[in-house]
């Protein structure tokens, strides 16, 4: 994790809809400062979120049945992913971060 002097950018939704288990949803291939990464989903099913840096290393990975599944801490420059691990409900999910 890299704390930085980057400007804090607005929240945006980078993935949303209905999904099947064993799916990962990337933010578009853009790197930026990120304040947090979170997935809203059906409680009780496992979702994950994580950052990927330009060297293709995963950072700040969390996987949880809590809703939201949230990594609340910033990273200096990364793209974003959320993942549906075992959610079979088809409930609409929303993955959000900052930085566009």
């Amino acid at each position: 994790m890299v704390a930085s002097a980057y400007a804090h950018l607005p929240q945006f939704t980078y993935a949303s809809g209905s999904s099947q288990p064993y799916s990962a949803f990337p933010g578009w291939e853009a790197f930026n400062h990120r304040d947090y990464n979170q997935a809203w989903h059906h409680a009780g099913y496992t979702w994950g979120v994580y950052y990927v840096t330009t060297d293709r290393v995963i950072h700040a990975w969390v996987r949880d049945t809590a809703n939201p599944t949230k990594w609340p801490n910033e990273i200096g420059y990364a793209t974003i992913y959320c993942e549906n691990v075992d959610d079979t409900t088809g409930t609409v999910f929303t993955c959000q971060s900052t930085g566009g």
């Binding site: 799916s23 990962a24 409680a43 995963i58 950072h59 809703n67 609340p72 929303t94």
Partner: protein
């Protein structure tokens, strides 16, 4: 007995599923949740059971006297408060009103990074947690057995600070183990919460809850993702 809601469930003593997938990023994940009932017979539940009580009712620590150490540090309070901001519409997303003044510290100075785990009840019976320097979120029920749980790695996955396993436990849980490389490793079990840090690049493949009376429940875990 724990009853899941997945395909090809076997009756009564063992019910579970296994699956794997490759994602757009080359991610191979297999996941399984398997529940066993030992000598203890337990009421059947499902992940979405409407009959399961709100999780706040099952966390006895929330009804214990509150000490000064149960107060949220400022940064942790800000993190928890963020859970109620800009909540997207959708069933089950609303955490309710966070009752920050009722927080409890369930674990102190645990794991490789010496973190604390706090919980905050909400007006609708959910319980939100925050791990200092780590993840946060809200649970609504013990809908799939005696544990709710997660895993995280705060830095580069597989290096630096190792992966940790954490969660909340019902009051009838007497011990929690992480299964790492086929061996059971005891987790720290505090007041309705548990925590375990692996070593090196190892990751847990299951978490086991032992119950008062001798039964146990095993939750198999998917391997971490790969970029």
């Amino acid at each position: 007995m724990i009853r899941g809601d997945h395909n090809k469930m076997k009756p009564r003593t063992r019910i579970g599923f296994m699956a794997g997938f490759v994602t757009a990023v080359g991610l191979l994940v297999a996941v399984a949740v398997t529940a066993f009932a030992g000598s203890k017979s337990e009421s059947a539940t499902t992940r979405t059971s409407a009959a399961a009580p709100p999780i706040a009712d099952a966390i006895g620590a929330l009804r214990s006297p509150r000490a000064q150490a149960d107060s949220l540090p400022a940064q942790a309070a800000a993190v928890v408060a963020s859970l109620a901001a800009d909540v997207p519409t959708g069933a089950g997303n609303d955490p309710g009103v966070l009752q920050l003044s009722a927080s409890r510290r369930l674990l102190a100075n645990v794991g490789a990074a010496g973190v604390d785990l706090f919980v905050v009840p909400t007006s609708i019976g959910k319980v939100c947690y925050v791990i200092t320097g780590g993840p946060t979120g809200c649970y609504d029920q013990f809908s799939n057995g005696p544990l709710v749980y997660g895993e995280y790695d705060p830095d580069a996955l597989g290096s630096g600070t190792p992966i940790s396993l954490y969660g909340l436990a019902r009051g009838d849980v007497t011990a929690v183990f992480a299964v790492v490389a086929g061996k059971r490793e005891p987790a720290t079990l505090g007041r309705n919460a548990f925590f375990y840090s692996t070593r090196g690049s190892a990751y847990p493949t299951a978490v086991v809850a032992q119950l008062r009376g001798g039964g146990e429940v095993v939750y198999d875990l998917a391997p971490p993702p790969h970029a």
